[in-house]
Symmetry: C2
Subunit: 256 residues, 2 copies
DNA sequence: TATCATTGCGTTAATATGACACAATGATAA
DNA sequence: TTATCATTGTGTCATATTAACGCAATGATA
């Protein structure tokens, strides 16, 4: 199917395949070089960026739909995924953006389910940055990582959605261990600490962090140090998956 | 408009007024006689009960829709309301229940938006039990309070929705003060403690509870004791609304 | 007037937390 | 080869928080 055919089919016959008025938006977090990043798409013919999103197949669970979107954008399967909020302002319509897009593509459509209001279910995902191969969708001309402190202007209420996701992630940090999904198999203590600091957006005491995280029992110290590093070489650690999954960790007392 | 007309209009012309495939479900919590209760509806011609719910007007914010549903069922306005999760299994269809209902009412409708799959946004509300006047909706023949430990069989996934709401409320207790919406203007310390114990489903030490809750500064002790009570009369308290609203209280350290 | 379950206020020991000290490490540069 | 030095691993200590429990005051009831 040609690009034009795909677009036409989506705009005109979408309701045969998808649930109308409903969409998914995903905030995909990755951690790289001590920076927390999210994956954004740039829609064609638009100046603003957008969160990766998609629609829900008529016979599909919304969680599955979110997983599908994620796999499509990152190439990863079995991703850590968490629903956090549903956004349902009546102003949530991409009518203008869609019309602008269609005009540029050269397709005429006076009516479309895509012009309607959409209620969007927000999910956030934690992924291993190094394993992601960003893939743009049919509407987009770019798919890139952005540091969470340097987000470009976003369409609609996508910035609000992102803020909600980040806040949810920060609160989550108090109740569940995090890192398994964001870090490589083995990592150093300073790396893990940086991850926590980046998410919480504040400094933590190195020594107290070590004590707390070890007391939770979710880490196993490996008999191996990082090579080729200036100064004292830190040990590698990995997660004890059994304990990791059991532990609600009762947070680590890290408040936002 | 007659009952039959209303039903016909809803089933056949609903999409003109409401957003298809989308609904609201509300878990309405009330506290009475040291018991935490929720408000349930019994749909006509059905053996199982249901959470109060409704649809979203085409130009209505979903939060407003939830507020509307709540006001309709309880008569209360400006209720404490919190979105907690969205339920989107493709199995969420009330087709059979609807067909059974229509058959009993004597209305024929082979097709209806009401037979479709619904994605439902879950809200929970905290209300002052003593001020609620339960009002049943058009589908129902009863609207009653049930102790959360004695819930009758519920339709669809409504029990799961209730469990999610309760869990969310329990977690909330760690971060925000609760009680203003669930208790009368003035109340005693044992009453407040019972509320916390009921929500958390475990006993708390009377003296430690007193100390913690007073340390948070959200209570004002009134110069008045409860009358007509056996044994030592407890003092009345009320909430210091300013401090109540400011305080995230950093929980009271009450974990689930 | 004595009883007694309940309330209000207090104490203490155990534990958790925050702030900081210091030696060990090992690549880098003199 | 050796000194330098930023960084890591581990420990200490004062303070704050928490859990567990004691005891006198209250006031309706017997």
């Amino acid at each position: 199917m040609s690009f034009e055919q795909k677009i036409k089919s989506l705009y005109l016959d979408g309701p045969q395949k998808y649930v109308e008025h409903l969409s998914i938006d995903c905030v995909i977090f990755g951690f790289h070089q001590n920076e927390l990043k999210i994956l954004l798409l740039q829609p064609r013919y638009a100046s603003e960026w957008a969160l990766p999103g998609g629609f829900i197949n008529r016979q599909e669970d919304i969680d599955d739909a979110a997983n599908r979107v994620l796999t499509e954008r990152t190439g990863l399967k079995k991703i850590y995924l968490q629903q956090f909020h549903t956004f349902g302002s009546p102003a949530r319509s991409t009518k203008k953006i869609n019309e602008h897009f269609l005009k540029n593509v050269g397709i005429k459509a006076s009516k479309s389910w895509m012009f309607d209001r959409f209620v969007s279910v927000g999910y956030y995902a934690l992924v291993d940055f190094t394993k992601v191969q960003p893939v743009k969708d049919i509407f987009s001309e770019a798919c890139e990582w952005f540091n969470i402190h340097n987000i470009p202007p976003l369409i609609l209420d996508h910035e609000i959605i992102f803020r909600y996701a980040l806040n949810h992630l920060q609160l989550q940090l108090n109740y569940y261990p995090i890192g398994y999904n964001l870090l490589p198999k083995k990592f150093t203590m300073p790396e893990l600490q940086k991850l926590y600091e980046t998410i919480l957006d504040r400094q933590l005491d190195r020594r107290n962090f070590h004590r707390k995280i070890m007391a939770s029992g979710i880490l196993k110290k490996l008999n191996e140090t990082k090579k080729g590093v200036a100064h004292k070489a830190p040990y590698y650690y990995n997660f004890d998956l059994n304990k990791y999954r059991q532990s609600t960790v009762r947070g680590l007392g890290f408040d936002v």
